[in-house]
Point group: D2
């Protein structure tokens, strides 16, 4: 198994490498009857597209998606939706420099250890390019969720030491800067910070937050398929993610029980929590509050500085990574986080339709 399939009721299967003919995804289990056209997906892909600013790789990938199956007369048919993005910019570069040398922070060494060989062109399967397929799948799932009143919003929370200021938080500003920060001032600071790093041949990490609104209470399974367990797997499956928090996360470990517990209240019979330390999940099941996810992204491992490493044969050597690399992964990973959250939540939402006799009776009688 190469672990390229995610989900139970909705299954997404991604394929493709940076330097092959393209990347794609098969979405199996999308409910029939959803209006879907390529533009619905393209808007998501455009959010992760390279070449948009000086902080993203200069590769020119138009990243145009095609629907190859599963949609008929503008509606999903319930059968697998195959989405393909052709790789346009496959300049035949000289990869001999990295073919036999292990780049620090990359998966070169581990792929060789696992498979005995690897596609060394630009990271192959471990390249961020694989996430094109995830974003395409996430766009479809997000559209289903939207029809059910569930929306997702992810953004860059911090880059290196610069963090979005809660007082200035404005969702509308997210798409107004190349870093996807919902705080224009923080974005400016972060841009300046990144400029300096580029000069120093270095790179930055950061954090991403994702908030899910409108998710009904009751979603997620009690033990191993907890909503948070599945979300965290989805997040850690994104390359470069090193930490995940739900709600208060690590800060909760420092709180006392009386501080951390969220009180219940009600209005017109509707029950809700008055605070949301839990991040919308209790016992692995959604509680009706916003689901709040926070993700730590490591700095881009491809840096132009000289680094110590070894060759495939174990001979110590130095490496200086050239080429086109983002000084920070975070901005382009924002939509990937949102996409993976959408896939996960839709999967559990469908899975939940079998949880009560009354649901079955509603459908079958």
């Amino acid at each position: 198994m190469a672990g390229s399939t995610f989900g139970n009721q909705i299954k997404i299967t991604t394929w493709g490498e940076t330097h092959g003919k393209g990347v794609g995804v098969v979405i199996d289990g999308c409910p029939a009857g959803l209006s879907l056209k390529e533009e619905d997906i393209q808007v998501y892909l455009d959010r992760r597209k390279p070449g948009q600013s000086r902080f993203t790789t200069k590769r020119k990938e138009s990243d145009t998606v095609s629907i190859w199956s599963g949609v008929f007369e503008g509606k999903t048919t319930g059968t697998p939706i195959s989405l393909i993005v052709e790789n346009k910019d496959q300049r035949s570069r000289d990869y001999s420099a990295i073919a036999g040398v292990y780049r620090p922070g990359h998966a070169d060494y581990t792929f060789d250890q696992k498979y005995g060989l690897r596609d060394y062109r630009g990271g192959g399967r471990s390249s961020g390019r694989e996430t094109v397929a995830r974003v395409a799948a996430g766009a479809v799932c997000a559209k289903v969720l939207q029809k059910l009143g569930i929306t997702l919003f992810a953004y860059t929370e911090s880059i290196g030491p610069i963090t979005v200021d809660a007082a200035r938080f404005d969702p509308a500003q997210r798409d107004g800067n190349s870093l996807y920060m919902p705080d224009a001032k923080a974005a400016l600071k972060a841009e300046a910070y990144l400029e300096k790093l580029i000069e120093k041949k270095d790179s930055a990490g950061g954090t991403i937050r994702c908030v899910v609104k409108g998710l009904p209470a009751g979603i997620g399974d009690p033990v191993f398929d907890k909503l948070d367990a599945r979300l965290s797997a989805a997040m850690f499956s994104i390359g470069a993610v090193k930490g995940v928090e739900i709600g208060d996360g690590f800060a909760a470990s420092k709180l006392r029980g009386t501080e951390n517990n969220d009180a219940f209240s009600s209005e017109d019979g509707r029950i809700f929590k008055t605070t949301n330390h839990a991040g919308g999940i209790l016992g692995g099941i959604s509680d009706g509050s916003d689901v709040e996810i926070r993700v730590a992204v490591k700095p881009t491992p491809s840096v132009a500085s000289i680094q110590q490493t070894v060759t495939k044969e174990g001979i110590p050597t130095e490496i200086e990574i050239g080429g086109r690399h983002d000084p920070v992964i975070v901005p382009r990973a924002v939509v990937v986080v949102e996409a993976m959250a959408a896939v996960t939540i839709l999967d559990l939402l469908i899975q939940n339709t079998g949880s009560r006799m009354s649901y079955l009776e509603k459908i079958y009688s």
Copy 2:
């Protein structure tokens, strides 16, 4: 689906509630030929047993495990191993107080929302008692791993504001105190801190670290079944976990690439990393360094203080939770973390046996 099965090649399926006849686990896919007896499992269960100190619930559960199947003449046969722990202490208490009222921080409300009803006795399926089954399964998996030279060590890193001091870190001290801290002095401080919280009818959270040694490079699948993705799902599937980090975790998001990248070096042809910011995982695949996991645990939600909540019908009310509750979950969760890590790693280790033609040739010719 109720999400009670975990793993692909090794599948563990847990069952049981606090107040039923018992809890158990079926381990399917354990390789044949492992020496296994009940004592191997009992030592793990004893590490999470209640009633061991004033910081754990006073319930008396002997938690004695029985092997019901899958072992013959002292060896695993390759068929499912059914392990059962009977519930001894099922005093018929009066649960009417919590039957109709939602405890803050608990899964009462979310279970009702999911299933339309719930077993309200002591948390039912969302009770920490379910982890007995995980620990039993983990003991078996850890024994397989040990035979392959892989060992796991989890411990309490912090309780509330008290953290193990790296300078005093001594693994041998972990089992010498009731808090499973590998630093006797920190343990004393934490005990004092907990005493005060009990007086104040409050509770604490904390963090757990788990280190895996001896795992060969190459384990974990590149995309959705990344070693870290699977480990984090395993960790978040433990009730009360709110955050997971691999290696430097969130701290990595503040580092620069040149700081965070681990250089490769070699000795006698053996390749290794000179630092381990990555926590032993690159691109979702083990890199031969120690795998380092860090987990945030929220404070025990059952506190004796008065809390605001609502009844099942949505009427505001107050609740004062009596009964037997640990002021901190962390110490008893340490072995659960270790167990879940063991199950996850063994699963991926077996999954990896199909990754190369040469492995198949080794077995089938």
Copy 3:
């Protein structure tokens, strides 16, 4: 993996050997809110109980089922239902005769080849005793189906050369004879036939039919999870099954298209097929007609005659199997077929709840 889990939305996991402490099953994913008590399950188990006539093994197994989890105040809670049947009759016999010799027609040799060792007491995991667990699970699933208007009826169609006469077919007679034949006259003949085989130290095979009524059209997935594909896997997973047919089965291969196609008709707008060569399944999806399954069961491999075989070491030898064995497996397998069909159909029924946007909207708004 030892393949002891079946199903996706409903997962059943069986465990146990003939001579261990017991056998059991964990049913994960049963919808919450079903009334369930042990008697509901016991009536199914009683149908496969040994010791009921001279054609079933003389072992005395009361086969009393206990519900260990997942039911609260008489209703399923949605969490795993653990059912256990203790092995009462574990006389410590001398198995040395078969420990080192491979019984023809049994799985002794193949288990040794797979695992390198085996539990040789009475067939271990490959014993028919494992089906106790399936029947228990099937009883629960059948009860869910019944609430939705779906019923199953399996019976012995033939034993050796004696076949139920269509003209005399009477469902009410099935439970009136020890062979579960819905034709009392055929049953008498078959009993006489079996008497002779016992004298000759031989055994018989036969066929089982199972009919499912009330299944709505639309159940089953189009490609690999076709209703017939899943049903046939369920049937072949029963030891001793050597063939499966849906509808006309092999006979359809001899028909012409104009003979085999079932015409559609309608009455008051309700569409139905006027014949049912297809056995209720078109393109892997139920079509609203009865689902008709036919299963071939081989003769009991344990015969008292002398047989040629080899020892574990490959030395030719003879074997004469003593002990308590049914001269025909079919009658006791009838309820196993019904049980496996119930599990399969319920699983696909739940799986189907995500097939349309309108179903999701029905549940979530």
Copy 4:
């Protein structure tokens, strides 16, 4: 879930409809290091290609496969192999005749019942065209098996009343006639039979046999993932299959135990069965003899004769199916049977690598 993924360790996911842009398959989990080029796959596809004789549809599909990912420098990398066959012959025909009318024997009605809508162009997802993807996947799996000494051979055993004569059976003749019968004389008779059916606007069914040689003993899991259970699911997942037998199949149900049991013998310490009624599988696990599978295929449902049916709205009507249809499905299904058997067997072969401690030790030390 739309059930488009098959397998555990090797997962194949197919997508595509008759009249979309193409059909494809993602093979996930193929071991790294296998030499693979498009020609390896094309030879399999050519065996199911339409337009080869007057007994196959006149559609001209060149069915040329492209490898889009997972192969680097001529070798599999262990990552997903995406294979795509573009649909060339998508003449925009007028489907209005069948858009609103249910063809007998087809999945039109059941798709509508399942999904509420369907792609009515030529069968959409339930078309035989989907099997292109399976054959492509099977070609890859068969190549892995061949490297391990395992070969598969499927052939047309019968068409309508004409059956291959065992005395004239000659594997070399299979590919010498358009019906894939390993008996040239039977093929001539069958061709004459089909000519007559075409005149009568009718169609024929038939049977396919598949023999697997060289499979080591020990493959298949004891309970639900029995080799025969998985093979039969694979076979029934092929549209038009109505019956599956292993070894003697239904005939075994008429045999006595002493006739049906296969004696064991040995030569130079190597153990083998002297007969093979069991078809190479005992207790769900391969026994080292040839695995023998037999499959019943119904007659092509698309016949040119007038048939009774209803419209989508339930109004009785007649239908006369025009267009390009094979008068018999069997010959083109032969390679599909072989392909699905290859995928199934490779999956279980890889799955088995975790069955013994000694296998793990062989790989990890």
